[in-house]
Point group: C2
Chain length 304, copies 2
């Protein structure tokens, strides 16, 4: 039951020779979700051997090019490589026309369907739900409308203690209530206490993606106790004025957000091209939140 983020790019607006613009792939129980798709993402997918045809959902945070200029090339490559299963894209409303215009002008017709979900950008919404997982938007505060994404596993049913169920010869009709956390009461009114017949299943895991945004405590209630938090950290704190002016966060501030959210772990990324050496950026965030890592391309972060 894997829950793992792979970093494909972590540069801010301008790429460098060593850092690509933003993209990540999240693997939740072998379902792959892509978050943002900066230029060059399709090459990164090949480089890191990600089975990209298994991606069925792509989430685009906002209309700054370093978060989506790689998307149309990736869509084309999936077509050329024979994709025929539908693909869901969640992004700002303007994105749909931009993609269609480019895809319509190349003389080909995609042999798979794109299902476009225009995101509401002013309040948080659940945008995806299946029996295991829920995905909701996080309203971020950037120069243009921008949404983060919160991936949260659903509460799993409690596990039956097989030997006890057999020993007491409980009927199958009892299982539903027990898995749901309730006691079972038989037709004679006898009570079978839930904790004697079940054990808790593992806790649901969660991942919050927050890029791009100015320091904004309004997101804290939503990401409270998140297992893994990706937060942008474009600048260091000696450039806090520049960060405020451009609606970005400093690494110190990213550490503060992680601490206040009581996150288990923080990944920082979206680094300005000015930081060739990222060690000082990391240390600054760690001064506020010890369990911080850098979003280095090719790194995988797993929630166990």
């Amino acid at each position: 039951m894997i829950f793992e983020v792979t970093i494909l790019g972590s540069s801010s607006a301008t790429p460098t020779a060593f850092r690509h613009p933003t993209s990540q792939v999240l693997n939740i129980n072998e379902k792959l979700f892509m978050i943002d798709c900066g230029e060059g993402t399709q090459i990164q997918l090949i480089r890191y051997k990600i089975k990209y045809q298994r991606i069925n959902h792509i989430f685009i945070s906002h209309m700054h090019g370093d978060h989506y200029f790689g998307l149309v090339g990736f869509l084309s490559t999936m077509h050329l490589q024979g994709r025929n299963t539908p693909l869901n894209i969640y992004g700002p409303p303007e994105l749909e026309q931009i993609l269609q215009l480019q895809l319509n002008n190349n003389g080909n017709h995609l042999n798979y369907q794109i299902i476009f979900h225009a995101l509401e950008q002013t309040e948080s919404k659940v945008i995806f739900e299946d029996k295991e997982l829920q995905i909701e938007t996080i309203v971020l505060s950037h120069r243009i409308p921008c949404t983060g994404f919160l991936f949260r596993e659903k509460e799993r049913p409690r596990k039956l203690i097989r030997d006890k169920v057999i020993e007491y010869d409980l009927p199958i009709s009892a299982f539903h209530d027990l898995k749901d956390g309730k006691d079972y009461i038989d037709e004679n009114g006898k009570v079978y206490k839930n904790e004697d017949f079940t054990t808790p299943s593992r806790a649901p895991r969660s991942y919050a993606y927050c890029s791009d945004t100015i320091y904004n405590e309004a997101i804290l209630p939503q990401i409270n106790n998140v297992d893994l938090l990706y937060h942008e950290s474009t600048f260091m704190n000696d450039s806090i004025l520049r960060a405020q002016e451009t609606f970005h966060t400093t690494s110190l501030q990213a550490g503060i957000i992680a601490a206040k959210a009581k996150a288990q772990k923080l990944i920082i990324g979206h680094f300005s091209a000015r930081y060739r050496d990222l060690q000082p950026v990391l240390l600054e965030a760690r001064s506020q939140f010890e369990n911080t890592s850098l979003a280095i391309e090719g790194e995988k972060f797993r929630i166990e």
Copy 2:
């Protein structure tokens, strides 16, 4: 007086872990011209240390994404890096709207001017001219309208033999005719033979870029005697049916075109992702035209 092509990418439609989609930069006497701009080109420019703000003219051959998906990102980066000099883009008419739509949706306004030149795609035209250089389109034959580009230095004036001019005390008014290749005749009717007073300047150099196209001898008169020919070579000749079907050329055919055009040198590129090892591709072209090289990323080809 440099005349040099740098290869930035040479993959066909689908990139590989080792090859980017098409782009080249041509340096003619320190003026930089970009030809095509596939995804990732801006990162390649950084990698190969090309002073990209010195590019003032970009030529896009056609609307297949592997030839232009990197353009909008490159335009954005030039803006973010402080460009303020105008930029000329020559390409299919549809390209303009696609660029504008993306540039208008990011909340910024470019701080430099884009001058868009919509290319006529059915007949060859001179699209650029200054005192040293002329650039004309080559009508290629592909699945959608596609133009190649022929860069040709202008004939340079003959060089005066300084000592002879002084010895005979020729007036400045004589220089123009002599440089132009004419004899000078003074007011008394005395003839000063051109070859006694001038030497030829170096021959004008030329570069033809032909991608993407099916094998097409109609281009031969235009590229006759070209110094350097880049010709696409998507497949090897055992896939000639696939090449015809997709309006591409085989490496054998690219060699034949170079031989028939009496080119000095051939560069082949736009390789299908199926060819991991390009040595057989090269040998096949060389069977027809010995002086052939592969368009390997980062390679520079100079006409001396």
